[in-house]
Symmetry: none
Subunit: 412 residues, 2 copies
């Protein structure tokens, strides 16, 4: 079955917003076996919307439109869709109530303008919006389906996952496609490529794509076949071959982040952790506390930006800083030990480095980072030289610290 | 003049690659005064390409296509375009030589497969590729222009900047367009809309769009006119009107983040800051340390996730936690005061709340957050009830804390 994605919004045309919604929807539909053949972007323009809806209904079986459901004057999608289907807009009191409650929960009165979001085409099925105010819409015409969803990514994704994808899955797409992504950290793309070896042989089984991310390299495997079972076998065989060559660099499959993997290991082994950060300025702690329930393993984080904070809060001896500098293996180990001691946790981990863009010297360039690790049995520091870009250095450093935790926890 | 962007490639349809090329081209064309009306994405499929070229030539004056110029069997754009224009593909020896030299420079022999890139439609003007191997193509038909560029972002951008944009600028778009974005925080979209008031009158001057982001609402103003001067005057008048009604919520124009605004104020007033975080787990400190030179104002951050850490590191009295709870105005103020005292900074700021998804009670629901503020002259806490989504709650909380800092620093 053929699918079309309609992305609606002036902000997409003028390049103010990158169309990540279309990528997300493309991925999800493809994973269900649908052939995404077109992504069409138009502005908040009723006349153009009518034209692209017309074209989409002629060529596609499933159409997913996003954007233009907001409460303000520039949002015209509901009107355009109603006109296209010759529908009347009717007030749904239950939607109005729900929108009112969204504001009430935040202690605010609902602005008059939000009432518009409770008017919906009388022939649409409504899709509940658990996250925001505008409901989604679903239409059927001659066995073809149109879904109209908000452009706000978290609202759109919630509706896709809870309503649209289960519905489409139940309809079926006529072929099987299975994908898996092996997430790696620690090797640049070309070295990982060489390590995995004979890609041509792998491509007999699945198609293979290398996707460098800011935190590592993802390897995506796509298997096509008559049924799910054939796809599953192809994926399994391909994954096994890759793991034999490069398994130690693979930290997860799917879309799991490295912080989730580390959190699961900490939960499972009932271990606690404290963090001492300098150049990453809280990013490592932020990632470790993105996991629900993180208070079970995360005791505290110290962002010791100044040398005084390193001495006072982590007990890093003044002579270590004087002799080796705050950015050194010795300081990193002292920070990890220090935070572990004051927090009374199983593990202490630290990061100290030169994030840049300035502050580097010939001996200690921008991008130089030491990660310190301490537990009851061992302590060490790992040296890295990353890039000249501040934010990327923060990200790479936090990722490297999480990878140290993962490898150590696997052996615990 | 109307413009259409054609993005070509299976990787875009299946969501493996996000279409940042279209955003870049949309920005550049809009800045030159062209109306980008459509972005159309299709796969590496000759038949579909012919159809979308046909539609584009009917509705647009300028068409920029990217992707599908690579050397392998799956790249079909050149063939499709030649077929569309009834052109023959001819070998250009000077292109073949240049491709050979690209490999030579890297000490490699040119793979046979790259020869295909030296075959170009006999009626195309060629656009030099300074970065990669495939030349770009330009066609004119009845005063309309089609540019065909590689999908590799750095190759496409080099051709745009060196050839396509100067050419289009010389042709002129028949109008001038100027834009500005007013970034706001603190009011939901619909409340901001009502606060700004008579949008119809504003739209006599400029077009106005409301763009909710994860940290607030951006208001984009677009002025069209005969020349730049007219656009500038329209923008200025519109911005003044909006500032009169809602100026206090505007923290920046353009693409500056709230942390940059706060950092500039701290630099300018030579003030220092320390941060005490609970539910945000380091995110506020991370944002404050994303700014180069942040060590001038950022002394330390304490991520006091456990109550013990709140007592030991911030001196929050046990009875405050026992009586009011760790998530309370009293605890927030005590945390802000505590971190300011131990860090000896001008300002202390704190966040304590229930990030979720679990841990809420009827009195203290998920999304309840207190921000504490302390300096030598004042101390207070601000209460918020955000959402039920953990990461969004962390982001909103950090943004609210930055906004408190901005407002306070403006009066310093």
């Amino acid at each position: 079955m053929k699918a079309e994605i309609l992305s609606i919004g002036d902000e997409l045309l003028i390049g103010q917003v990158v169309n990540t919604n279309a990528s997300y929807i493309g991925q999800k539909l493809t994973a269900l076996g649908f052939d995404v053949k077109w992504i069409t972007t138009v502005g908040d323009d009723q006349e153009e919307l009518r034209k692209v809806l017309d074209a989409a209904f002629q060529r596609a079986d499933v159409i997913i439109a996003t954007g233009g459901l907001g409460p303000t004057h520039d949002d015209v999608t509901t009107k355009a869709v109603a006109e296209f289907f010759g529908a009347r807009l009717v007030l749904k009191p239950e939607i109005l109530d729900r929108i009112g409650r969204v504001f009430e929960r935040r202690g605010l009165e609902m602005p008059k303008v939000n009432e518009a979001q409770a008017y919906v085409p009388d022939n649409a099925q409504l899709i509940d919006n658990r996250v925001g105010t505008a409901p989604g819409l679903m239409f059927e015409r001659q066995g073809k389906y149109l879904f109209v969803l908000p452009g706000v990514p978290q609202e759109m994704k919630a509706m896709m996952e809870e309503t649209v994808l289960p519905f489409l899955k139940s309809k079926g797409a006529g072929q099987a496609i299975l994908m898996t992504t092996l997430r790696t950290v620690g090797l640049p793309e070309s070295m990982l490529y060489e390590k995995i070896g004979d890609i041509a042989a792998l491509e007999q089984l699945v198609s293979v794509a290398f996707l460098p991310t800011r935190g590592g390299v993802d390897v995506r495997l796509t298997a096509r076949g008559a049924d799910e079972e054939e796809c599953r076998q192809r994926l399994e065989e391909a994954e096994n071959r890759i793991r034999k060559r490069a398994g130690e660099y693979i930290y997860a499959t799917g879309d799991e982040g490295l912080e989730q993997v580390v959190a699961h290991l900490l939960f499972e082994k009932k271990l606690t952790l404290a963090v001492a950060e300098s150049c990453t300025g809280g990013l490592l702690a932020h990632r470790l506390t993105n996991i629900p329930g993180s208070s079970e393993y995360f005791e505290r984080g110290i962002i010791a930006y100044s040398n005084r904070a390193k001495r006072e809060l982590l007990g890093v001896p003044a002579e270590v800083i004087d002799t080796h500098g705050a950015v050194s293996a010795e300081s990193a180990v002292a920070m990890a030990e220090g935070v572990r001691r004051v927090a009374e946790t199983h593990i202490g981990i630290s990061i100290t480095g030169i994030a840049g863009p300035t502050g580097g010297t010939p001996e200690k360039p921008v991008g130089l980072v030491y990660i310190g690790y301490a537990d009851a049995a061992t302590r060490f520091a790992q040296k890295h030289i990353f890039t000249t870009e501040r934010l990327l250095n923060k990200e790479r450093s936090a990722q490297a610290a999480l990878e140290i935790l993962r490898r150590r926890l696997l052996q615990w």
